[in-house]
């Protein structure tokens, strides 16, 4: 399909919706009313909360943290013992020169990171500290550190049980380790059922959290920096959405890799600017850093001024870490399993760096900048709070941040479109028609996400991302011994010198 035909197809498919959307909130209200009961029902199951004192604790957050803690203990805190080996792998110390031209560990890491580094690190952290106080940061870091072990487990499994297609491409991820790994355990029926549940949730997560939420935040940010309510774009989310949808369509349907390439190159650059600016702010406020970390630690245990006290701070921190680094969700396993490596465990070692970079470094930096800049009590939240915190040092930063948000949103959409596609092909087989229907639907959802403020739909999609963790974590628990065997034989090969260091 040519790009122009594609653009025309998207415009044609959306014209009625746009016409309605332009008339005002009519279509929003209609969709909300239709979706809300279903959505609320699913949200109430996924985010089922128990009351502890006057705080409600969502069980799914506990589910993820428990999995991360169990993986950490089961593998003897591999995230600390193995980190040097991880760095050596990423630096290519163990890369066989004869395998040059294959995907390197560095490339696998950066691609998986570009899917997780995004709005969660910028907007999500701001939400966490504005509700949970500075202390939320402490729990977020703890969750990030523990999450490294669940990421290690799921990415090793992703490679171990992936499937090589006849054309040389590879399909992998939780749906494959659930179905194939459980078949090895003599539970093929349970495996297939969990894999199907995972795939359905993954498609939901891709369309929702990986797409509509991203498009929505990007459109809002563009409207904010161009003048807020007075902006030309203020009520033209659909226009931004349409542009985004056409660009996304060009990449995922039109196969225009060059656009994806450009963003893949700009995203690390934007991340570097973001981290660089954060470091400059921290250096210029060096006298407050000790105080800021003091606030983070004391806030974590006193919960001073936070609704729900210590538990309130803890929930916010844990939730944000899980949202941001996706450890235990299973998404990264899809990306890592495509890498050609002889030893599945090497992907696990590389992947365990992701929660560290994403949560322990970037999220923490956002939180510290917000605390030292003194904007925490400004009453702002989300991107606006982060924006205000950075603007205290660099008045021009909101514009840079807006560009970064749009690019991060775009790269997250491209990555999640791939996750959703893999789940679709798992359910329906490798079929071009089904793939194109999925991709077209994905593009349409970009416009819907950007043009509407669909609270229930976004709640629904967030819950879908978390729902992925239910089948995935069951898989992690049952397949952990497989990973342990892989790890043991790999370490034996390292010790015997069978796996050589080349550089």
């Amino acid at each position: 399909m040519s790009i122009f035909k594609l653009g025309a197809a998207i415009v044609a498919a959306l014209t009625p919706a746009l016409a309605l959307a332009q008339e005002g909130g009519g279509i929003d209200a209609a969709i909300n009313a239709a979706v809300a009961p279903v959505s609320n029902f699913i949200v109430s199951i996924i985010f089922y909360s128990v009351q502890i004192g006057d705080v409600s604790f969502p069980l799914i957050v506990g589910w993820l943290i428990t999995a991360a803690a169990v993986c950490s203990i089961y593998f003897g805190f591999i995230q600390f013992r193995g980190v040097k080996h991880s760095l050596d792998l990423v630096r290519g110390r163990y890369a066989d020169p004869n395998d040059a031209g294959e995907v390197s560990h560095f490339q696998a890491l950066t691609t998986a990171l570009s899917a997780t580094v995004g709005l969660g690190n910028i907007a999500g952290v701001a939400v966490a500290v504005s509700i949970g106080g500075a202390g939320a940061t402490f729990w977020m870091i703890l969750a990030g550190l523990l999450g490294m072990a669940s990421k290690f487990t799921e990415c090793t499994l992703g490679v171990k049980f992936r499937r090589e297609n006849a054309d040389g491409t590879i399909s992998g991820g939780p749906m494959y380790y659930l179905s194939r790994g459980f078949a090895d355990l003599g539970k093929p029926g349970l495996g297939r059922a969990l894999a199907a549940i995972f795939s359905v949730c993954c498609i939901g997560g891709a369309i929702g959290g990986g797409n509509m939420f991203q498009a929505n935040q990007a459109a809002q940010q563009i409207a904010n920096v161009t003048g807020g309510d007075a902006s030309f774009f203020a009520d033209k989310g659909w226009l931004i959405g349409l542009v985004l949808a056409v660009v996304v369509g060009m990449v995922i349907i039109g196969g225009l890799k060059s656009i994806a390439h450009v963003t893949e190159k700009i995203v690390p650059f934007m991340a570097a600017i973001y981290v660089g600016a954060g470091i400059v702010i921290m250096i210029s406020n060096y006298d407050k850093i000790g105080w800021a970390f003091g606030q983070i630690v004391s806030g974590a245990f006193t919960g001073e001024g936070v609704a729900g006290g210590v538990l309130g701070a803890l929930i916010q921190g844990f939730k944000r870490a899980a949202f941001s680094n996706e450890a235990g969700i299973g998404s990264a396993a899809i990306a890592h399993s495509a890498v050609r490596t002889k030893e599945p465990v090497t992907e696990g070692f590389v992947a365990l760096l992701e929660p560290f970079i994403d949560t322990v470094v970037i999220c923490t930096m956002t939180a510290v900048v917000i605390v030292v800049s003194g904007t925490l009590d400004s009453g702002l939240t989300g991107v606006e709070l982060t924006s205000a915190a950075f603007a205290t040092a660099f008045p021009w930063f909101p514009v840079v941040l807006a560009v970064a948000v749009v690019l991060f949103a775009f790269s997250t959409m491209i990555s999640w479109s791939y996750y959703g596609l893999k789940a679709t092909t798992y359910l329906f087989g490798e079929n071009k028609t089904v793939e194109n229907i999925y991709k077209l639907f994905f593009c349409i959802c970009v416009v819907i996400g950007a043009s509407m403020s669909l609270g229930p739909v976004i709640d629904f999609s967030d819950s879908m991302i978390f729902a992925m963790a239910i089948p995935n974590v069951i898989g992690l628990y049952l397949l952990m011994p497989v990973v342990k065997r892989e790890l043991a034989q790999y370490q034996a090969k390292l010790a015997s010198g069978e796996i050589k260091r080349f550089h």
């Binding site: 031209g101 995907v103 190159k265 990306a335 495509a338 791939y418």
Partner: protein
Amino acid sequence: MIKTFIVGYDGTKPSERALEFASRAAKGRGAAVLVVHVLEWSPYSFLTMEEIAERHKLREKEVIRARAVVDPVCEKLRTDGLSVSSEVRYGDPAEIMCEIAGKYPDSIIVVGRKGTSNLASRFMGTLGISLIQASPVPVTVVP
């Protein structure tokens, strides 16, 4: 005494000139020719998810294509009575050429140069320039 002429060859005109020069010189000396085709590749570039999934398939195709460029010319030189071998490698051309040269002590590297005008050659002859600066063996740049 030069025993091996290591030639950077990728099927382009300048590389053909380099190969021609090297094979003539090798014939006179009874030396061998090693034809090296480097496919540019950095393990630190950024890839999209789909590219990662397709990388292995693509790499196999690239190697077949590169072999189709290198093998016929090697065969032709062999029929002329030369001792010819070849390598297809991934990486940075200058780095790979230097690494290979390190394994052949009495060798010389021969590469072509794209540019003809003064200004153009300054900007375009980067492989030749990096080799001159880094090579462990003598380098001949064929204009």
